[in-house]
Symmetry: C2
Subunit: 204 residues, 2 copies
Amino acid sequence: MLNNKFSSQLLEKAVTEIGRLPGIGSKTALRLALYLLRQEEGRVEALADSLVEMRKGIRYCRVCYNICDNDLCEICSNPTRDAATVCVVENVQDVMAIENTMQYRGLYHVLGGVISPMDGIGPSDLQIESLVERVRQGGVSEVILALSPTMEGDTTNYYIYRKLEETDVKVTVIARGIAQNDELQYTDEITLGRALAGRIPFGN
Amino acid sequence: MLNNKFSSQLLEKAVTEIGRLPGIGSKTALRLALYLLRQEEGRVEALADSLVEMRKGIRYCRVCYNICDNDLCEICSNPTRDAATVCVVENVQDVMAIENTMQYRGLYHVLGGVISPMDGIGPSDLQIESLVERVRQGGVSEVILALSPTMEGDTTNYYIYRKLEETDVKVTVIARGIAQNDELQYTDEITLGRALAGRIPFGN
């Protein structure tokens, strides 16, 4: 739509690069570039450096595959966390979301996605084998499946469950039900059905 | 709202820097940072370099104050453009918008904003004196005011008009009327009133 005639090739290049980011259109890219032009040189360098340093320096925890700065992430290396419980999540945002609840004291295992044949993602593209190996090595008593409640998430849950059957680890899945403050009448049938089926004694 | 616990300080720093950009919230910043993490190192460096190079290398045309890579912008240094006509605009996006119409063959003068006492922007913060000086030096027969049809734009138009009165340059303002494909019944009264007052002979 926007067939810009740039008066500066430096500006055009920056707009092109910014516009390659997901969800950033050409108009937003131009707006951001012109904003950066008005900032002090040091601020633009700080932004640029932070991106390159992150990309170059980032590592994945050798135990849970969470993003971290060292060989072992802060959660895995924290002796006060419960190493016998492993929560399986899709990505690093999910780790953050669960950490923000302050309700979980165990460790994680970041799969890096879910099984999705439509997107060409199979079990071997994910950290499933490493999870099974981690459980096999002992010390883990419970694996909590905390994937998204989608078909892909359910498929992945089932795949992991079957893989872990050979071990004697307890496999649980996070509760599905109506969300806090949701209105019952607007809740979809599957969620409401699951919430009924998964009812627990009052006062728990 | 999002009180993220980052497992990586490198990631946290990048998210903080990205989140400083206007219109980019903390969730979008995290999404962009994680996207960049998945890209090849060269791509992240290309983005970072383009920002720093733009900020360091960009210059403003000494005649029209448009953004450019040299001392004189491509438009001002183009001998086929009509140097006797100068179109006054607020910023570089407006130059692009007018260039995209392919209807204008004259030169520009980029003010860098409009007079806005509420934002503390006075005439001396804008390239108005340089415009007057440019006209005084001769060779300009028409100054076209193409600022936004807002109170600030109108104030700036009037200020420039008064400043140019001492010269014998012709000062015009771009037409205001109903926009192409706008529905008459939904057009506001001021616009419709101006469109009526500014009517021209049919067939022009």
